[in-house]
Amino acid sequence: MRASLRLFTYLKGIDLQCMSASHAIERFLHYPYLKKLSRFILWHIHYENVSRHEALESLKGILEKSIVLVNPNKEGYYFDCLPPKRIDLNHNLVLIKVSQNEAFLDPHIERFLISGNNRISKIEQALLWELIVTKPEGKDIADVEKELKEQVILTTSRQKGILVHPISESFDILPIQDYYSKT
């Protein structure tokens, strides 16, 4: 029996990384459609030989007893899905997952969690950027994503892209319905 849990962590206060990235996107990449940029850390925690309920209780225990995954003084978290996002028809929501091509997760965190709880078999970590963009007239979501990828996401030069480094990182545009709760 296996269980895999998703944990989304975020900064409760102002995220300065988002502030600088938004500023750079608007002012230096000249992309006018970005309305809001948010950032989450996505943790995939895989359990062996436990039910989903037991895995969830175990993860809650880790969150209560340690600050390894979440520092409650400055960070908040969601289990499984991000809260529902209400956006009007003039906007699109785009969620990007950025992974380092090579090792990224601090081995101390991995060792602490796996040795302290032998039911955890694997931990993965990635960065999520959530973009709310104004829908340009006459363009559908595929056009918006293509434009975002070329102008904002994939860094190819000083003038193009910032969120992902094409040599050291890779990214996926995630299906929204799988990552936001509906209620």
Binding site: A21, Q100, E102, I162, H165, P166
Partner: protein, 289 residues
């Protein structure tokens, strides 16, 4: 003859500008610190530019990613086109890579190198603060390294969390066209394993030049290794012994890292008249940034 002028660009979060200025002044430069938003007409009169170490913009998004987007980088790209020397140390190296100024194989300033988080084998190891040795390869391909001897091993400090050079595969075929500074043992052996290669860099790269040889991006700090008083006693290197001898006599001295500053100065002195004639063109194009 007046000294060549060097502009040290201070971004919000830069923190090595003072020791960089001291080293440049000691080795015969008129070195001045400028903020990143200094007007173009002032900056364009410089004969060389240095991006010092630090944490520009708090390393937000990636180290150097935000600073690389700033308008001042347009000036540096102009300066590169004129062939002026540009040195990026540590965070400056990361900024030059993010701005596509190195290696700039096609002259189009595209992103071709990354400074990824440090690793040991496949494990991330976080920030490193240590003394290492580096050696030189293809010294005649860059104005910064012409006075160094190929195969010499020199001690130098590193202080970075994201210093692992990764290059586009296409560059690897032409890597011999670039002057390279590589991590090595104290006997100049280039071994790919930790701790000789302290951050997991491709080809043990600690720094390398652009194709023209007028830009050098280097992760270690030469400004912190150019005086004997900066060399720690505990490292097993002849420079530590030399320091002891000098200290007994109550003297200080310089290390071979002086060659980087002097090589750069000689080049600037040879070419600055030509650059001065071109400065008007740069100013008239853009005005103040």
């Amino acid at each position: 003859m007046s000294k060549p002028r060097c502009g040290i660009i201070q971004f919000p979060g830069s923190n090595c500008e003072l020791e960089t200025q001291y080293a440049f002044q000691f080795f015969g430069w008129d070195a001045m610190i400028f903020r990143w938003n200094t007007p173009l007409d002032v900056l364009s009169k410089m004969d060389a530019y240095v991006l010092p170490g630090g944490f520009s913009y708090q390393d937000r998004v990636r180290a150097g990613a935000i600073a690389a987007k700033m308008e001042i980088m347009e000036l540096l790209i102009d300066a590169d086109k004129w062939g002026k020397p540009i040195l990026g140390i540590c965070n400056g190296c990361q900024i030059l890579a993010e701005a596509g100024v190195i290696p700039n194989t096609k002259g189009e300033y595209e992103l071709e190198a990354a400074l990824a988080p440090n690793t040991r084998g496949k494990e991330p190891i976080g920030f490193i603060c240590d003394w290492v040795w580096v050696t030189f390869k293809n010294t005649q391909k860059s104005l910064f390294t012409t006075l160094f001897n190929e195969g010499d091993a020199l001690p130098i400090p590193i202080n970075h969390g994201e210093g692992r050079f990764l290059l586009k595969k296409s560059i690897l075929d032409s890597i011999e066209s670039y002057s390279q500074i590589q991590f090595c043992t104290s006997k100049a052996e280039v071994l790919p394993s930790f701790p000789v290669n302290p951050n997991g860099s491709m080809l043990n790269l600690a720094g390398f030049s652009n194709k023209k040889g007028n830009v050098l991006a280097i992760m270690p700090h030469p400004e912190r290794a150019c005086f004997l008083k900066q060399i720690p006693f505990w490292i097993p290197d002849p420079l530590a012994d030399e320091k002891r001898e000098h200290f007994k006599k109550g003297e200080d001295g310089v290390t071979p890292w002086k060659n980087l500053f002097i090589g750069m100065r000689e080049y600037a002195l040879e070419n600055r008249e030509q650059w001065a004639r071109n400065t008007f063109h740069v100013i008239s194009r853009g005005g103040s940034l």
